[in-house]
Symmetry: C2
Subunit: 396 residues, 2 copies
C-alpha cells in the first residue's frame, strides 16, 4: 500500500536503473527537491508544484545512482523548501516513524527517511543544510550522512542556503551507506584520523535519555577494537548560541535570496512554521548578512584550528523524537529542543565538515543518534568508521 504521507509520486519502480553496478537491486526514495526527468519538483509546497513543469533532465546525483544499478521507488515528501527539521508537512501530513509510531520522523528529508525506515526503499536521498539528514536519521533509528560541503554535485537540486546545502542520504545499515558513498563521492586516499574528541559541553546540551545513550555509545567506542582512542576536550571557541545565530542569519539571507521573490507572492501557500521562518529571513539586512558570513568563516577556521584531522563525537539531535502531539501543539519545550538540536547540527555546516549519524541502542527503544564529524574530504573513511562503530555498539 502506498502511504499517502510518504510519497508524492510512486511506482514499482518509478524510474528503472540505467546501468548495472554496486547498487543493483536497491531502490531509492528521492526527496522532492531533486530534478527527475519527466516529473515536476514540488518542494513540499502545493503552489510550487502547481507552477512547476516536468523536468527535462535528471539531477547528476540521482543519475549516478540509476547508472550504478539503483531504481527510483518514488519521489518522497519533505518539509516545505527544506526549511524545517520537524518533518511535519501541513499540506501532506507527517510521514510515519515506524519505530516510534506516535513520534515525528524529523526533517526536512522526512519522506526519504521514512521510506527507508518502513522498508519502502533501500536508500533515502535527501539534502542536509542544518541537519535535514541527521535529524531524521536520529529520530528514525537510521544511518545518515551529511557529506563534506561541496563534495557532491548539487546541480538540479532546489537550493535552500547554498553556503550550507549538501546532498546526503540515509540507509538502514552502514554497508549500504558506504556503497552509495562509493558511487557518489570523489575517490580519496585512505588515511588514519587524528584524535577522537568528546566534548562534554556538547553532550550536556542534550536531554537525559540522549546523554545516557551517547555515554553508552562512547563507552562502546572505547572498548571497540580498531577504533582510535577518545580524548575529552572542551570545544571552547566562543558560545554555541552565537554559532547557531550566525548560521541562522546566513541561512535565512541565502534562503531569501533564492526564494524571496516567489515567497513574497505566495505567502499564503506556506504552512505557519516555514512562513514565519521566511518572514524572519526577509528582514536581514545586507550588512547583517555580510557580518554573519564573516562570523561563519571565522568559526569554520576556529574549528579547523581546533580539530585538524580529528573526529568529534556529539549527539545527532538534542532529544529523542518529540511526539506528534507535542509537535502539533508547539510551545517552549519543543522550541528549546529545536534550538538545542540546531546548536549541535550547525557545527558541521559551519566548518563544511562531513558527519555521519549512527543509531544507538536505547533502553526504551526510542531512537537516538550519535554523530561523528570528520575532516573535509574524509567522507569515505568516515563511512568505513561508521561500520566499525556499529560493530562496537552492538550488545554482546
Amino acid at each position: 500500500m502506498v502511504d499517502p504521507t510518504l510519497w508524492r509520486e510512486f511506482g514499482t519502480p518509478l524510474v528503472a536503473p540505467t546501468g548495472r553496478g554496486p547498487l543493483d537491486g536497491m531502490t531509492v526514495a528521492v526527496k522532492d527537491l531533486f530534478d527527475v526527468a519527466g516529473y515536476p519538483v514540488g518542494a513540499g509546497n502545493e503552489q510550487w508544484l502547481a507552477e512547476a513543469r516536468p523536468e527535462a533532465a535528471t539531477a547528476p546525483a540521482v543519475a549516478a545512482l540509476l547508472e550504478a544499478g539503483a531504481a527510483i521507488a518514488g519521489i518522497a515528501r519533505c518539509d516545505e523548501f527544506a526549511y524545517s527539521l520537524a518533518g511535519t508537512n501541513p499540506h501532506h501530513g507527517t510521514p510515519p516513524n515506524p519505530i516510534a509510531p506516535d513520534r515525528i520522523p524529523g526533517g526536512s528529508s522526512s519522506g526519504s527517511g521514512s521510506a527507508v525506515a518502513t522498508g519502502a526503499a533501500t536508500v533515502g536521498l535527501g539534502t542536509d543544510t542544518a541537519g535535514s539528514i541527521r535529524v531524521p536519521a536520529s529520530y528514525l533509528g537510521l544511518y545518515g550522512i551529511r557529506p563534506t560541503h561541496g563534495a557532491i554535485d548539487r546541480d538540479g537540486v532546489l537550493p535552500l542556503a547554498p553556503s550550507f546545502d549538501t546532498v546526503g542520504w540515509l540507509a538502514r545499515d552502514p554497508d549500504t551507506l558506504l556503497a552509495v558513498g562509493e558511487v557518489l563521492l570523489p575517490a580519496a586516499q585512505e588515511r588514519p584520523f587524528g584524535r577522537v574528541i568528546v566534548s562534554d559541553d556538547l553532550t550536556a546540551i542534550a536531554s537525559p535519555p540522549v546523554r545516557a545513550a551517547v555515554d553508552a555509545g562512547v563507552a562502546a567506542w572505547e572498548s571497540g577494537p580498531g577504533l582510535p582512542a577518545i580524548e575529552r576536550l572542551r570545544l571552547d571557541v566562543g558560545g554555541l548560541g552565537g554559532w547557531a545565530h550566525a548560521f541562522r542569519i546566513v541561512q535565512g539571507a541565502e534562503a531569501w535570496r533564492a526564494h524571496g521573490a516567489w515567497i513574497a507572492r505566495h505567502r499564503d501557500s506556506l504552512g505557519a512554521d516555514v512562513r514565519s521562518r521566511f518572514e524572519a529571513a526577509s528582514k536581514h539586512t545586507r550588512a547583517q548578512w555580510i557580518r554573519a558570513s564573516d562570523e561563519v568563516r571565522r568559526i569554520g577556521a576556529a574549528i579547523d584550528h581546533l580539530l585538524g584531522d580529528d573526529l568529534l563525537l556529539l549527539p545527532s539531535a538534542s532529544s529523542p523524537p518529540p511526539t506528534r502531539e507535542q509537535a502539533t501543539i508547539g510551545g517552549p519545550v519543543i522550541e528549546a529542543a529545536r534550538a538545542a538540536t540546531f546548536e549541535l547540527t550547525c557545527i558541521a555546516g559551519l566548518s563544511g565538515r562531513c558527519a555521519v549519524s549512527v543509531p544507538l541502542p536505547t533502553d526504551d527503544g526510542i531512537p537516538v543518534g550519535l554523530s561523528v564529524i570528520g575532516p573535509r574530504g574524509r567522507d569515505l573513511d568516515l563511512l568505513r568508521l561508521a561500520g566499525a562503530l556499529t560493530r562496537a555498539c552492538q550488545p554482546g
Copy 2:
C-alpha cells in the same frame, strides 16, 4: 626620505605600540584598507578617501600587533579596492621594487610589500583575496602568508570578496613571518603533514625562469633535512581555467555587492584597469553567481578529497615581475601572464587553505616565489616549515 608612492600616511611612528611583547621594536606598514583610529581609509582611491571620515576604532588585527609591541610606521598605498595583482596605482604611482627597480612590485598589497622590501617597515600587513599577498611576495623577494580563510578577524577591513578575503602579511625572513603569526593566529596543536605534492601541470603554467627556480627549490626541498618527502601527482580535478573562471565570477559578484552602489556613482574616479574589472563584475546575474558559488564549493571539496592533510608546492606567480614598461603598455603577453598567475593563486582561495610564499634563489637575481599550500588550520605549522625550507634552499 618618505617615498610618496609608498605611503599614504607616515610617521616615526605613526601609531605607537599599546603593549609590549614578541613584536617589540618592529614596525608595520598597514595597507590602506584597515581601520586605524584617527585616520580615514583610502582604499587606493582619491574620491573614496575624500568622502571617508577618520575611523573611531582600530581594526582588531592591527590592534593585536600594537598590543604585541609593534608600532605602525604608516598607512601603505595599495591598488584601488584591492582589485588588482599589479601594484600600479594610477593616482599614487607604483611603489618601488628595490630588488628589481625597473619592475612592478605586485599587488594589491603593493605598498605593504614595498615598505618591507625597502626596509621602511619590518612587517607589511595586507589582504589576500586572489593573490594580493603572494604576488607582491613573489615579485619583491619576500616571505608572505595568506592564512586559512576566516582564521584572522577581518572586522574593520574594507571587503573585496568576503568568500575569499583574508588578512595576510609579508616579511623579509621566515622568523618574523612566524612571530606575527603567533600573535594573530588561533593556537593549534602541532601535527605532522601528510605528503608533499608537486604537480608538474601546475609548474608548467609558469614561464621558463620560474620553472627553473621552482625546480631548483624542489630539488633543495628533497635534499633538505627534516622536510617531508615529495610525491609527483597530477592535480587532475577538471581544468584550472574553469577553476579560475568560477573564482572570478564569485569574486566579481561579491565585489559588486560590496561596492557597486558607490562605484556606479563614481566610475570616473577609478583607474582604467580596476574600472573595467568592476564593470565586468556588475554584469554577473544572480543565477551566474549562485552557479559559480556552487562550482567554487565543489572545487574546494575536490581539493580536500585530493589533498587531505598534504602540502602542495607550486609557483607563487606565473612569471618574474613584469617591467613597469610592460605593465604600462599592457597587451596580450602581460594579460596571459596575469591569467596564468590567477590560475595558480586561485587554488588556495577556492579551498580556503593557507599558503606561504618563500623567495627562491635565481640566477639573475630577479625574484621568484615558491608557494606551499597547506590544510586549513595548519598555518603555524606551515610558517615553521617555511623556515626549514629556507634553510634547505640556501646555497652551500
